[in-house]
């Protein structure tokens, strides 16, 4: 559920939306927002402690291709981890029905170890950096 203006978590949700909308797609010269991979309603926020929020993102990949979906999941996670200005826990999922192997993909993109190992792979890291870096 999306908190309304004035409710705790509204600012948190808005921060998250603003951070992810400008992430670029790994293959196309568009942002995830332009491609409707992420939308206003794909961000869910829950207060889990004092000034701490659980942020849940459900994204819809443009093509049902595994490696691209996990790559987008990785970009979402990295940028949010770096840019969210409050203490948070993050869960990222493919929106239901968007992929045939979504359970496996969801496991991968939420596996902290795999994410850490992926970011130590120079090739993957380079792609992610290009997708998440704000243009000057």
């Amino acid at each position: 559920r999306v908190p309304c203006a004035g409710e705790p978590g509204h600012g948190a949700g808005q921060s998250a939306r603003d951070i992810i909308r400008t992430i670029r797609d790994p293959e196309k010269p568009n942002t995830l927002e332009e491609l409707e991979v992420v939308t206003e309603s794909c961000v869910e926020v829950h207060e889990i402690g004092e000034d701490e929020y659980l942020v849940i993102i459900r994204f819809t990949p443009t093509v049902p291709h595994c490696s691209l979906a996990t790559l987008i999941g990785l970009c979402l996670r990295i940028k949010l981890q770096r840019c969210l200005p409050f203490k948070h826990k993050l869960e990222i999922y493919i929106s239901e029905g968007a992929h045939s192997t979504e359970e496996d993909i969801n496991k991968q993109i939420n596996d902290k170890e795999r994410v850490a190992a992926a970011m130590e792979n120079p090739n993957l890291r380079e792609i992610v950096e290009q997708c998440v870096t704000e243009p000057d």
């Binding site: 889990i48 203490k87 826990k89 496991k107 902290k112 170890e113 850490a116 190992a117 130590e120």
Partner: protein, 284 residues
């Protein structure tokens, strides 16, 4: 319950990085930590303080995920995301790399189990389990089992998983022909943890079960004194909600000093705790 797990010290073990794992040496006097900064640190006590005795920084090119001591305490194995394992030999107070092996699994881990979950079947592989006598199993309804450890008794094991459940297993009555006993789940602890459980450690001295959770908390469970060994019940005897400022990745009981627990976190810190067991409602 509030006072049963008290903080002794907090150390920035791997600053600006993540501390993934901790391992006590067999004598209980040294603690090895490893992390995202690609180094291993060996910690020892000097007076009342924990100090870093060595930094083993030249062995790996990527995150070091786990370390393990040999049973004799003279060797340390480290496993890294760079797909190698290093074996370090201790001479005096120094460590040097003796062997660098291009393998993906470790040698002397004393929590030894790797489970392969094939649909609903459980296939288990114990590595070097015969040296320590522990076997581990796990399974479940499609959930991921992250960690297993052997318990106080050789016939009991405990596993922790992604969906925040802990299961306790024991060897089923009948021993099958061949080396592998069959296991059954005798207890499940649910409703205590709010996020993934990254580690579970069963103290061989006291029987207490510690958990490291993605909700930043450390919890301790003990078997109820009069519970049926075939269907044990466990009580939560300690809960520190903000044990660290981020996910707790590892908890490790000191093998010689009862109640001494070390923990580490994504925030790069390591903490030492003293656990006071309860008997019949009285804090010891």
């Amino acid at each position: 319950m509030k006072d049963s797990l008290s903080l002794l010290a907090r150390i920035p073990a791997h600053p600006d990085s993540r501390c993934w794992f901790l391992a006590w040496d067999p004598s209980g006097t040294l603690l090895a930590s490893c992390g995202g900064d690609r180094s291993i640190r060996i910690w020892g006590k000097e007076g009342d303080d924990w100090v870093c005795k060595s930094v083993l920084g030249e062995g790996h090119q990527r995150t070091i995920r786990k370390v393990a001591w040999s049973p004799c305490g003279s060797y340390l194995a480290s496993a890294s995301f760079d797909a190698t394992t290093c074996i370090w030999k201790k001479s005096q107070d120094e460590f040097e790399v003796r062997l660098s092996l291009l393998i993906l699994t470790q040698g002397w881990a004393n929590r030894l189990v790797r489970g392969l979950h094939l649909g609903r079947e459980i296939v288990w592989q114990a590595m070097n389990a015969h040296e320590i006598g522990g076997w581990g199993v796990g399974g479940g309804e499609g959930s991921d089992w992250i960690k297993c450890c052997s318990g106080l008794w050789d016939s009991a094991a405990c596993s922790a998983c992604r969906t925040a459940l802990i299961a306790v297993w024991c060897i089923a009555g009948v021993v099958c022909s061949g080396a592998d006993p069959s296991w059954k789940c005798i207890c499940t602890l649910s409703g205590f943890h709010t996020r993934t459980i990254y580690d579970v450690a069963w103290c061989r001295l006291t029987g207490a079960l510690a958990t490291a959770c993605g909700d930043d908390a450390i919890r301790i469970f003990e078997e109820e004194p009069l519970s049926n060994p075939q269907q044990p019940t466990f009580a939560l005897t300690a809960h520190v909600p903000r044990a660290h400022s981020q996910d707790v990745n590892c908890v490790a009981w000191n093998p010689k000093e009862p109640g001494l627990l070390a923990s580490c976190s994504d925030d790069g810190e390591m903490a030492f705790w003293k656990y006071h067991a309860w008997i019949a409602g009285v804090l010891l």
